[in-house]
């Protein structure tokens, strides 16, 4: 009886055809050489257009297969070209999220140890419990919408970019929740006030309406578009960066801006991912023009909701002694950013629409 031949399993212990083939060779790297992100992401979700010999072998009762390009009205000649600029895979995602959680914990613990919450202006505490408290629900709603969206894309790269975006939104919603709970051990904060504000305060009803519109959207590209092109630029970042982060210091609060600032860093990455995907779709030689028209249609839905939300939220700027904080100027900044995003993805405002 013959014995198994190869004794050593180490690379280089034998040389033969294929013994030096040490890279995944079934996809084209975006750059000169495949990144780790590409190696662990590309083609993990197969596609009848690539490698999937038998096609999908299960379907829904109406015949729709496990994954279908019809899950969005957007068309693309090759969805597999997309790579997320933030290049996140599991290790980098956990490193970043963990780093943020540890930083927030350190900042909050040290501020509390130094008695910082006691020195917050009393009116500012009311802003935190009501309006920062309301924001956490908005962030949570966006997280839910993105969780649903990550089911439907036909490539791993598209779905994972929405998955990590959703993870960031949930983290922020929980960070705010736990932060308010923790400082509530030092100062008097009603932990349930934010929910009441979110559900009932007129200033927040526009935001709630805009978020619920995104949650109700069933097209996953529409969700991603509405979140990062429209809502975040005109509402999310406006409130976080244009209000909380600017006003905090004036009210002796250096802690809350630090907690919220992580979200701006999250958004920068998620925006870059979004712009990259939507630019690819709108630059598609065959479908680009139709895609742009579809996105213009989405703007007709989400733009008035988000500008309306921002204008309604203006009331929050006015309730404090925020003389140096002018809603008009921060909203103008937000609109500029929104215009620059539209320009980057080559989408025009629908005719008859103004900002």
């Amino acid at each position: 009886m013959a014995q198994s031949a190869q004794k050593s399993g180490a690379a280089g212990s034998s040389t033969f055809s294929g013994s030096d083939s040490r890279r995944y060779n079934y996809f084209e790297a975006a750059g000169r050489r495949a990144t780790v992100y590409e190696d662990v992401t590309v083609d993990v979700q197969p596609d009848p257009r690539r490698h999937l010999l038998q096609g999908w072998i299960m379907s829904f009762a109406d015949g729709t297969p496990s994954y279908s390009e019809d899950a969005t009205v957007i068309k693309c000649s090759d969805w597999h070209v997309y790579r997320a600029p933030d290049q996140e895979w599991e290790r980098t995602h956990f490193q970043r999220q963990s780093h943020i959680e540890n930083t927030i914990k350190m900042v909050v613990d040290n501020a509390r140890a130094a008695g910082a919450p006691d020195r917050f202006d009393k009116n500012w505490v009311s802003v935190l419990e009501n309006h920062l408290g309301a924001l956490k629900h908005a962030e949570f709603g966006i997280g839910i919408a993105l969780t649903k969206a990550q089911r439907d894309g036909v490539t791993q790269m598209v779905n994972n970019t929405m998955l990590t975006n959703s993870s960031y939104k949930y983290r922020l919603a929980q960070d705010i929740t736990l932060y308010l709970g923790d400082i509530g051990l030092d100062i008097d904060i009603d932990g349930d006030a934010g929910k009441k504000t979110w559900l009932e305060d007129e200033a927040w009803q526009g935001v709630r309406k805009a978020v619920e519109a995104i949650m109700a959207a069933t097209d996953y590209i529409e969700v991603y578009f509405a979140v990062n092109v429209v809502y975040e630029a005109l509402v999310g970042e406006l409130f976080r960066s244009g209000f909380i982060m600017r006003a905090g210091a004036a009210h002796n609060d250096y802690v809350t801006p630090a907690v919220v600032s992580a979200a701006e860093s999250d958004y920068q990455r998620n925006l870059a991912n979004t712009v990259s995907l939507l630019s690819m779709l709108n630059g598609d030689a065959e479908h680009g023009d139709a895609n742009k028209a579809i996105m213009q249609g989405w703007l007709k839905t989400h733009l008035p909701l988000c500008t309306g939300a921002a204008e309604q939220l203006q009331a929050v700027w006015g309730i404090e002694d925020n003389d140096d904080l002018d809603f008009g100027s921060v909203f103008a900044d937000a609109k500029d950013k929104f215009r620059s995003i539209l320009s980057a993805i080559d989408v025009n405002l629908p005719e008859g629409t103004s900002l």
């Binding site: 013959a2 280089g12 294929g18 096609g55 995602h93 993870s167 929740t177 509530g184 929910k195």
Partner: protein, 554 residues
């Protein structure tokens, strides 16, 4: 005084209690009033009660915990290289990882997508963090496994097969079985797929053989990397099991759900058994070089993990809620493993099909024979001659074994589980919507014809999925020349001639099979041939198939 200024006392900071934290986080959700959410992935179950969160973990502790687990994994991989792991690893073992690691990342990421579905149908927000963490966990599993495979590719003597991994996954005769597994998590009735098939059966029951038994065998073959990665993966599974049980408890008390639960537990248990035991049983029993008779066989592991641990302590207690558990199916699965040699017949099928594999399948030798005979008395009588033939036909001096006159009959594929009908006496056929299909067992026939249908027990089941598409791999290449098949699959090495798959572990060029060795050999689809037969021919063929075959020497 100094007692008050210890580091732990200085940095001690009281935080909100975990109970209060999870209460507030669960209160983040609300019932939308401006726009109504459309249920994109519906269910036929009644789902009204909000599931509770059994884990009460928040992301603030989750992310650092996962990062720490990752640090241990990647540190261990570095240590394995510094310790020259691959010098002592068993090539027989690593070759089978080309198959296993091609399959598993897809079911993992499908489970992440599954959370999009389950989180939408679950009422309330208590379990939202649980679903979120499971979604991120599955993203972790998929990409950490892809990275492990990349690591094998970079450091193992024969990287061919790893280098085409995801392309091979989409094309291979064996990986189609794994796709049935992964697609089952995301397609069809939202509760059937996400809760019953994924969480209650696959994760709670069968991840024990996948992610606990497999790593043990890896370590016995000098592979310390796979246990490092997969035991870290398995440590996440308890969270998913908790999600699954909590959701199950929220639907089990609705009387109208009981018949659907009976259906789905039956389908899910049988199909998990058919798929997972086929793949993992074969890899553990035939991918190992360790023949210590004191270690448990796959059958013994199955009895411990599936029969005692899962069936007796998880499934049986569900009866108190009125759920009908099919004890006969559990006994039948056990009989398939210990009396009907299911795993050995799968290994025989995989190995005889080596020309369309993308990994090397090492033959069995005397020490293997002795171990199999000790663990499965009578093994040599049924399989010994086959493996003697396999060894004799391992070098390219004659056509591959499948095309030699040794008595083996290439099997029909089961339309339901996608594993071939290898226990010949259990082979059955049936017509569904006017078309003829083949099955490995009566339960798989029931699964296709009765469970995956528009109604069940007289009630409409519009949310239930369907088995569809080109489910039979062989159909794709019916009537093709084998050399053309291999070229089309892309299972050819960089010289354009030598095939990736080999029925041995020899690395010398003159012992490697090349495309020219497969020319003139035809591949056929047994199902297409069966459908083309007259009723009389078909009846005769089925009777002969059920009678089985006897292997003779070549």
């Amino acid at each position: 005084m100094s007692g008050n200024l210890t580091l732990s006392k200085i940095v001690k900071q009281k935080s909100i209690s975990i109970t209060e934290a999870t209460r507030r986080i669960a209160d983040l959700g609300w019932a939308p009033t401006y726009f109504e959410e459309i249920l994109k992935y519906p269910t036929d179950y009644k789902v009204e009660k909000a599931p509770k969160d059994p884990m009460k973990q928040v992301l603030r502790s989750y992310f650092p915990m996962q990062e720490e687990k990752d640090n241990r994994v990647y540190g261990a991989l570095d240590a394995a290289l510094r310790g020259d792991m691959f010098r002592n690893v068993e090539p027989r073992w690593i070759e089978w990882q080309k198959l296993f690691l091609a399959i598993i990342p897809f079911p993992e990421i499908s489970a992440a997508r599954s959370m999009a579905i389950q989180s939408q149908i679950a009422p309330g927000e208590d379990l939202r963090t649980g679903f979120t963490m499971q979604m991120i966990d599955e993203f972790r599993h998929s990409t950490i496994q892809m990275n492990l495979k990349k690591w094998y590719m970079e450091n193992y003597v024969d990287p061919a097969g790893f280098d085409i991994t995801e392309a091979a996954f989409g094309k291979c005769y064996a990986t189609t079985i794994g796709r049935q597994f992964g697609e089952g998590f995301i397609t069809g009735d939202a509760v059937t797929s996400t809760n019953v098939y994924l969480q209650v059966v696959a994760e709670t029951g069968f991840t024990n053989t996948l992610f606990v038994a497999m790593p043990s065998e890896a370590a016995r073959n000098g592979d310390y990397a796979l246990p490092t990665v997969f035991l870290s993966v398995q440590s996440d599974e308890s969270r998913h099991i908790g999600n699954g049980h909590s959701f199950l408890m929220s639907i089990v008390k609705e009387p109208e759900n009981l018949d659907l639960l009976e259906r789905d537990l039956r389908y899910a248990f049988w199909q998990n058994h058919a798929i997972v035991d086929a793949a993992i049983g074969t890899i553990i029993e035939y991918g190992t070089k360790d023949r210590d008779k004191n270690k448990e066989s796959y059958a013994e592991l199955w009895h411990r993990w599936i029969y005692d641990d899962y069936y007796r302590t998880y499934l049986l207690p569900l009866e108190k809620y009125g759920v009908k558990i099919h004890h006969d199916d559990v006994e039948a699965a056990w009989d398939r493993i210990v009396k009907k040699n299911y795993v050995h017949k799968v290994a025989q099928f995989f190995s005889v099909g080596w020309p369309v594999a993308f990994w090397r399948i090492d033959g069995m030798v005397d020490e293997d024979f002795e171990w199999f005979e000790a663990k499965y008395p009578g093994w040599y009588n049924e399989f010994g001659q086959y493996w003697e033939n396999y060894e004799k036909a391992s070098l390219p001096n004659q056509p591959p074994l499948l095309y030699l006159d040794q008595g083996y009959i290439y099997p029909h594929r089961c339309w339901s589980c996608n594993v071939p009908a290898l226990i010949r006496e259990d082979f059955c056929v049936d017509e569904v919507e006017g078309e003829l299909y083949t099955y490995c067992s009566e339960t798989c026939r029931w699964t296709h014809k009765v469970a995956f249908a528009a109604e069940y027990n007289g009630r409409a089941t519009p949310a239930m999925g369907r088995f569809s598409g080109r489910r039979q791999w062989e159909e794709c290449y019916h009537g093709w020349d084998l050399a053309d098949v291999i070229k089309d699959l892309g299972f050819v090495r960089s010289d354009g001639k030598t095939v990736i798959q080999q029925p041995h572990l020899h690395m010398e060029d003159d012992k490697m099979w090349k495309l020219e060795h497969f020319k003139g050999l035809e591949l056929r689809s047994p199902l297409m041939d069966l459908r083309a037969m007259s009723p009389e021919e078909r009846e005769k063929h089925i009777a002969e198939y059920r009678a089985g075959f006897t292997i003779k020497p070549i």
